[in-house]
């Protein structure tokens, strides 16, 4: 058991070094699966203090506390969903970097696709219209021919 722990800790350190990430605390897990879950969770949860960082990247006090909570819950055998629910119940959906799809966030999720689709539709419509609206070269009538001729003649004079 102890050997396994040592390996997991070593793996955690190596992983962090490889990713160039800062490790704020050393954590010991019973299994590698727990370590992976911990890493995933702290990367997906937002630090409320420094809002554009996740828990993994932030050295804010609150981020450290929340990492501790995530760690404690994982070691206690809580599921990922339970950890996420715990955070959302306290800090709202904002704590999630991937907000859930619900009535309030529908625009956020499908907005870009709607915009993209309407842009494509608009483009197609425009292209079609341009093609059909292309003025056909109508031949000059005899009268116009004569006028053109006269103008050219005049110019020469």
């Amino acid at each position: 058991m102890r050997a396994l722990r040592a390996i997991v800790v070593a793996v955690s350190v190596a992983f962090a070094a490889a990713a160039g990430a800062v490790v704020f605390e050393q954590r010991e897990f019973e299994s590698e699966a727990q370590l992976t879950r911990y890493k995933t969770l702290i990367h997906e949860l937002r630090c409320l203090v420094c809002q554009n960082q996740n828990l993994a990247d932030s050295d804010a006090d609150l981020a450290a506390d929340l990492r501790r909570e995530v760690y404690r819950m994982i070691v206690d055998g809580k599921s990922d969903d339970e950890v996420i629910d715990f955070m959302v119940a306290r800090y709202g959906d904002f704590v999630l970097y991937r907000p859930p799809l619900k009535a309030k966030t529908v625009l956020l999720w499908i907005g870009p696709f709607v915009l993209g689709a309407s842009a494509i539709v608009l483009l197609i419509v425009q292209l079609r219209r341009r093609r059909t609206a292309q003025p056909k070269a109508t031949p000059l009538s005899a009268e116009e021919h004569a006028r053109l001729h006269a103008l050219l003649e005049n110019d020469d004079a």
Partner: protein, 177 residues
């Protein structure tokens, strides 16, 4: 005509949206706790570690729960307003002394006045997490049934107090919450 007005229209809408976005305060994250019961807690009191302050001790009348700390600069700015609110006596104030030093916190109350009926001492910030505290000061307005009816993030100024709190407190006082 519409060919020229359409891009202009889109531009104006965009500017309006961005303008509204600029005015929003990203620090004010809407709390999911508003409308929910105040979370259970039990903390040693700041003044006397042998006594506890728990949810059950504070519920029963409308109250303010103010998360504060001596290391929080904005709390210093807010403090005189809280002292005033306590003096007016329309509502009870409780403190959540968040991740602070007990000695410094007591000194602060001695020097600046103590607006709180009692403060819970949340040394490791665990209760703060349950309350969704992320940026001090934060103030919860809780009704007599123990439901959080309003949360304010950042220092309460006299203007904010009059605008955001007083109407709710008056409504609570009339009993039609």
């Amino acid at each position: 005509m519409i060919r020229y007005l359409l891009p202009l229209g889109i531009f104006i809408v965009l500017v309006a949206l961005l303008g509204v976005g600029l005015r929003l305060n990203p620090r004010e994250v809407p709390s999911p706790l508003v409308g929910k019961p105040l979370p259970e807690f039990q903390l040693p009191q700041l003044r006397d570690p042998d006594k506890t302050l728990a949810r059950a001790d504070v519920i029963g009348r409308p109250l303010l729960l103010n998360a504060w700390a001596t290391w929080c600069v904005e709390c210093r700015r807010e403090h005189p307003v809280l002292v005033d609110i306590a003096r007016q006596g329309n509502i009870l104030l409780y403190g959540l002394n968040y991740k602070d030093q007990r000695r410094e916190a007591l000194e602060w109350l001695q020097r600046l006045g103590n607006p709180y009926v009692a403060s819970g001492f949340d040394g490791d910030g665990r209760v703060g997490i349950d309350m969704g505290v992320y940026g001090l000061p934060e103030t919860f307005l809780v009704d007599a049934r123990g439901v959080i009816v309003h949360k304010h993030i950042g220092p309460i100024s006299r203007e904010i107090w009059a605008r955001d709190f007083v109407p709710i407190i008056e409504r609570l006082g009339r009993g039609d919450s």
